[in-house]
Point group: C2
Chain length 442, copies 2
């Protein structure tokens, strides 16, 4: 077990190996998960106070990272993400305070069944276990994810970018001290440093329950292809907006512009416009609205005939996640062809239809196999905050466990609790007692 | 795409490769999953009729397997599992009919939120996608799992044991014909033959969404260690019954005997009795009840002093899944020590406490990290049928996606549907519209 340290610069002289760390995290997690909701709230309140008390030390640690980063010529936007400020710390504290005051997500019944007299089955939410979070530049993640993990009774191993080394150490030490001073095991939150340590942890599919990468598509892909541990995330977001035959042209233009330009580098930005052939007469107006918004169009031959401002699309454009103001445009003969295109080229992230035809809308919503499917709304809505999930753990394009924007629910599993009065399985069966299986209210 | 064949003996002359099969399964699944509930019911009703109409052919195919198996000297119990009978086919048809009449599990809302006026978010259940089922001897699995997959809109690749080759081919062809004659794509259900084909499928983590092994712990372990695809199952069941200081001795004896002897080879059979030191005075009566029931005890030194009929336990006994009438017995100093023993040696399957002390029971239920945790009930209750889940897909000791006994819910994921009136994300934010996030009834 590592000792909690209040010195953010303390070198990790005798770092234990990855397996011992994960095993220690599991043991600490079980104590944290078994603790009362009130106890976990106490830790969060303590963390908020410690963040305030140590603000100067935290900013000093962050200044060391910033100095190194500036010396090494880190780009401006990255410096902005790396920088801690009193304002950012205040925002982090607000988030931690809100979690401390929020209902505990652990131990909630999700199903309750009376199997027989005095034999009550309950399925309750439980912490998932040991999470490995791999993130880049923003040290804020330590507090955001650390606090979510405390609230949900999980242990976290936090691997941040080397450019935030000192900031991350200082923040991890603060979260650990909050645990220790509340009488809980600090190893529920551990910092991980170095690629080698991460590679070792990714091998431990018995010790680590879930990996959450927060970063580029390349980071996610690299992790997905190097571990058997489930990975919550998305490597890409190739989202489509389908303008149906019965699409209103004003709405079509609005949603195309919003989907592409609201935040072009977001994973839920629209990348391809699919256009029903019968909408072609209204497409020029949509094209003009997009061009006015600074969007560069890459269209197939048929669309180009009515979009003189466009350049020709190639096969690669159908799979492109541009991340900028480029938009692909393709004509389809039917709703089914649009759905086929989406299934062939999409990333199962977010797909939308614009139409005034309610039946076509419902067919699209039923047929499209993606995490989020929208009718007459911008693809940009696919987001944990907009969905009202509270803190967003990530957006998953996987089908297992959690799909789409994931809130704290994604950090939970369930356990089955059965409370009896001495019943044995041999009491039930042909010619004996039979089960009642009466569903009870939650 | 393979052609459906009504000839169960038709050799799979030009078998497509694993990837093309999985890709065809995905395409067929999307059509099946997008079909109406009534359409899926039609397929199930058709399957039931075909099973009746083809009974003689199915039994003939099964006889070929039985003849070969007898010639090769397959053991009696395995022959029994391999054999199809008119009675077994009738039971299978009853199951299929029940599924045809049951509520469709696809498209059920699990969350509904009003984000704003005319902007309604819904999370609905959806088919998981492409399942790979790997099973041994019992050809019944083809119909049981095939029907469950049809009901839940999933595609299945079915790999059975070579000893049931002809039976499996005939049954797979029957399920495929049910799909085809209802105008759906037969490739939603495919038979897989040969170890090589399975090995190739286990590599396809983009094409196959879930692997469900139905067989021995060795089979499950072998699969878990050879794929990145999530595996639903359990490699072992080392379940404990903890006799607390305040355990009633009569109930303790009842539950120990039931847990060990009701079905000793089941994964939820009790393998270790943990005994609070303060219960030692009542242990002899429990020991006598177990011995009378034919149980052989392997006890630690302290327990042996009051269990003269026991033999000495070694360290290996704490991890043993005996699968027979052997039971390990160990004395612990406290409930916490019992929980520690369970976490160290258990398989996170099913753990039970016997006690009249309600506070101790709740502490145990909160602290034990396992799929099922029981108070005053036999470990044998951990079972999808007993839990009232309907058909059991498997019992999972994993934490991700599904845990414990898994019914049809384990074959589902969710999708987020958003129905709007042209809203863009840019309409919301500081100084603009704000979200309402009102939870709606389901």
């Amino acid at each position: 077990m590592r000792e909690a340290s209040t010195d953010p610069q303390a070198p990790d002289a005798k770092a234990p190996d990855a397996r011992s760390r994960a095993v220690a995290a599991r043991a600490a997690q079980r104590r944290l998960g078994g603790a009362s909701a009130e106890r976990r709230s106490d830790v969060l309140r303590r963390l908020s106070r410690l963040l305030a008390e140590r603000q100067e030390d935290l900013l000093a640690a962050n200044r060391r990272d910033l100095e190194i980063a500036e010396r090494e010529g880190l780009a401006g936007p990255l410096l902005g993400r790396l920088a801690l400020t009193p304002g950012k710390i205040a925002t982090l504290r607000e988030g931690v305070d809100a979690l401390a005051a929020s209902d505990d997500p652990v131990g909630r019944p999700t199903l309750r069944t009376e199997l027989d007299d005095g034999l009550i089955l309950e399925r309750v939410t439980s912490p998932l276990g040991v999470l490995l979070i791999i993130f880049e530049s923003r040290p804020d993640v330590v507090v955001q994810i650390g606090a979510l993990a405390l609230r949900s009774g999980n242990a976290v191993l936090l691997k941040g970018g080397s450019e935030a080394l000192h900031s991350n150490r200082a923040l991890v030490a603060t979260v650990r001290d909050a645990l220790t001073t509340c009488g809980l095991d600090a190893d529920a939150v551990q910092g991980v440093e170095g690629r080698e340590a991460v590679a070792e942890l990714l091998e431990l599919d018995r010790q680590v329950d879930l990996v959450i990468p927060r970063g580029s598509g390349e980071l996610v892909r690299a992790i997905q292809s190097s571990t058997r541990i489930p990975v919550l995330g998305h490597a890409e977001g190739v989202c489509h907006l389908y303008l149906d035959a019965a699409a209103d042209p004003t709405m079509a233009a609005r949603l195309a512009v919003d989907g592409k330009t609201d935040y072009p580098s977001a994973c839920n930005a629209t990348e391809t416009l699919l256009v029903h052939r019968a909408f072609l007469d209204r497409l020029p107006a949509v094209g003009r609205a997009l061009t006015r918004a600074g969007v560069e169009l890459r269209a197939d031959e048929e669309a180009r005939e009515v979009l003189p401002e466009s350049s020709p699309a190639t096969e690669d454009d159908w799979r492109a996640e541009y991340g900028d103001l480029t938009l692909a445009v393709r004509v389809v003969a039917s709703l089914d062809e649009a759905v086929d295109h989406i299934h062939r080229h999409g990333s199962s992230h977010t797909e939308a239809i614009v139409t005034d035809d309610a039946e076509a809308a419902e067919r699209f919503l039923a047929a499209v196999d993606a995490a989020s499917v929208f009718h007459n709304a911008s693809t940009r809505f696919a987001d944990g905050y907009r969905y009202g999930l509270g803190a967003e753990v990530g957006i998953s394009t996987g089908r297992i466990h959690a799909r789409g924007p994931v809130g704290v629910e994604g950090l939970l599993t369930t356990r089955w609790l059965l409370r009896g009065q001495g019943q044995g399985a041999g009491d039930y069966g042909l010619g004996k007692r039979s089960f009642r299986h009466r569903k009870l209210d939650l």
